[in-house]
């Protein structure tokens, strides 16, 4: 079970990594800045699944990041199981969009 989930996550990550360089640069320079006053009442949902590798450290690091973001009151870390489920679907979605 665990292996399957992890593979799904890695595949999802691989699909994201194929975003063209031009799109990446654009994302970088525009910097998705979210209005902090709005965020005050509406925490930003963010997925922080366990980082890959490093034995259990990847999961430990993700837990600390989740706790920091949650404690700030400005972020809402989403349930990891729900995220992994959708990450597994991601490669199929991309594949159909590119026709490949």
């Amino acid at each position: 079970m665990m292996t399957t989930d992890r593979r799904g996550l890695i595949l999802g990550g691989a699909a994201l990594l194929t975003v063209p360089a031009a799109a990446r640069a654009q994302g970088s320079s525009q910097g998705a800045v979210i209005d902090i006053t709005r965020a005050r009442t509406d925490p930003i949902p963010i997925a922080v699944p366990a980082l890959a590798g490093g034995g259990g450290r990847g999961a430990d690091i993700a837990r600390v990041i989740q706790a920091n973001l949650r404690n700030s009151g400005l972020f809402r870390p989403v349930d990891n199981a729900a995220f992994i489920q959708s990450a597994r679907q991601r490669p199929r979605r991309r594949a159909s969009r590119t026709g490949g």
């Binding site: 800045v33 979210i34 902090i36 980082l51 890959a52 600390v64 920091n68």
Partner: protein, 344 residues
């Protein structure tokens, strides 16, 4: 649907005692990478890597600096109230990696960070003599900054770290003094009758906020950093104490005592826009996170018995909007926190 606007992915690599952590922050809907960064640190410092990544996420998504890669020093209190032990303690901002820096053989009061986050200035009554000490976090050693006639109170570094302001009391008067850390020379900044205490510089070091009873009861005043030009800024109900200037410069946080209730509040440096963020039986000593968005302070609960049964003192964090107050868990009672600047 993923149910998230942003996604963090990453990989940890163990490089023989050192960890290399590569992470990417994604904007989910356009599937665009916002940030990709790698951090390397000794394996034992994996929490710091997590805090550094948290700060990058915070800054990229909110447009202002984070505060997670920071520490808090405080006074760790234990023992019965009439024989209290007060130790200098330090922890990460989330309460982890707690360490006691002194052994409890002498009392520690009012620790404050140096702007380089490596030194702490504090008051102690070692051998019943009040002295101001500098504690170095790298060496674990303390040195005496100075011994002053009478009672010394509330030392605090200037933003450039070259000066410590404090107040010393003699003959029912307390005045603010600036001590040059290098030469140890002193310069008196206030004079006259009244207790002038708790000085704190603004971020560019040109002004000092302090509290004084020169007008009858304890109120907040702002003066020029060289002394002079003091003007009162607090005009609400009650007494005001422990002012601290936000690192962003836009607010001054304080303790207000009114009708037997304590409150932690903020106002603009000209005294306008006063807001009380939290109130209770006992709370005091606000300190700003380096981004000026969050305050830490301590909250006391009332003793039930004559010997102090049921008393506790705990650290809290609160957003400057007044929302999201939460306790920072410490192994002992905790008072008088001071938040470090960002470590990196």
């Amino acid at each position: 649907m993923i149910g998230a606007n942003a996604l963090v992915t990453g990989r940890v690599e163990d490089q023989g005692g050192r960890l290399r952590v590569e992470f990417r922050l994604w904007d989910v809907l356009p599937e665009q990478q916002i940030q990709g960064t790698a951090f390397t640190a000794p394996a034992a410092q994996w929490r710091r890597i997590a805090h550094l990544i948290s700060d990058v996420i915070y800054e990229r998504l909110l447009g202002e600096k984070g505060y997670f890669d920071t520490r808090i020093v405080y006074v760790a209190e234990s023992g019965p109230r009439d024989r209290r032990t007060r130790r200098l303690a330090i922890m990460d901002q989330d309460g982890e990696n707690n360490r006691f820096l002194t052994d409890g053989s002498f009392q520690v009061l009012s620790p404050r960070f140096h702007p380089n986050a490596q030194q702490i200035v504090f008051m102690s009554y070692f051998q019943n003599t009040p002295r101001v000490y500098l504690f170095d976090l790298n060496s674990g050693r303390s040195e005496v900054l100075g011994q002053f006639p009478g009672m010394t109170l509330s030392p605090r570094f200037s933003p450039d770290g070259r000066t410590v302001v404090l107040s010393y009391a003699r003959n029912n008067d307390a005045n603010i003094v600036a001590v040059d850390v290098g030469s140890r020379s002193q310069r008196q900044l206030t004079s006259g009758t009244g207790l002038d205490v708790s000085p704190c510089y603004n971020p560019d070091g040109t002004q000092i906020v302090f509290n004084s009873d020169r007008g009858g009861d304890q109120q907040l005043y702002v003066m020029d950093a060289g002394g002079g030009g003091a003007r009162r800024i607090s005009f609400g109900r009650g007494r005001y104490a422990t002012p601290v200037w936000s690192p962003r410069g836009d607010l001054i946080a304080f303790t207000r005592i009114s009708g037997g209730q304590f409150g932690i509040g903020v106002m603009r440096p000209d005294g306008s826009g006063e807001r009380i963020l939290s109130e209770g039986w006992g709370m005091e000593g606000p300190t700003f996170a380096p981004n000026g968005r969050v305050l830490a302070f301590y909250r006391e609960s009332q003793a039930r018995g004559a010997r102090g049964e049921g008393y506790s003192a705990r650290l809290s964090q609160i957003d400057i909007t007044g929302f999201n107050e939460r306790q920072i868990v410490t192994p002992t009672d905790a008072t008088d926190p001071s938040w470090s600047p960002l470590l990196a």
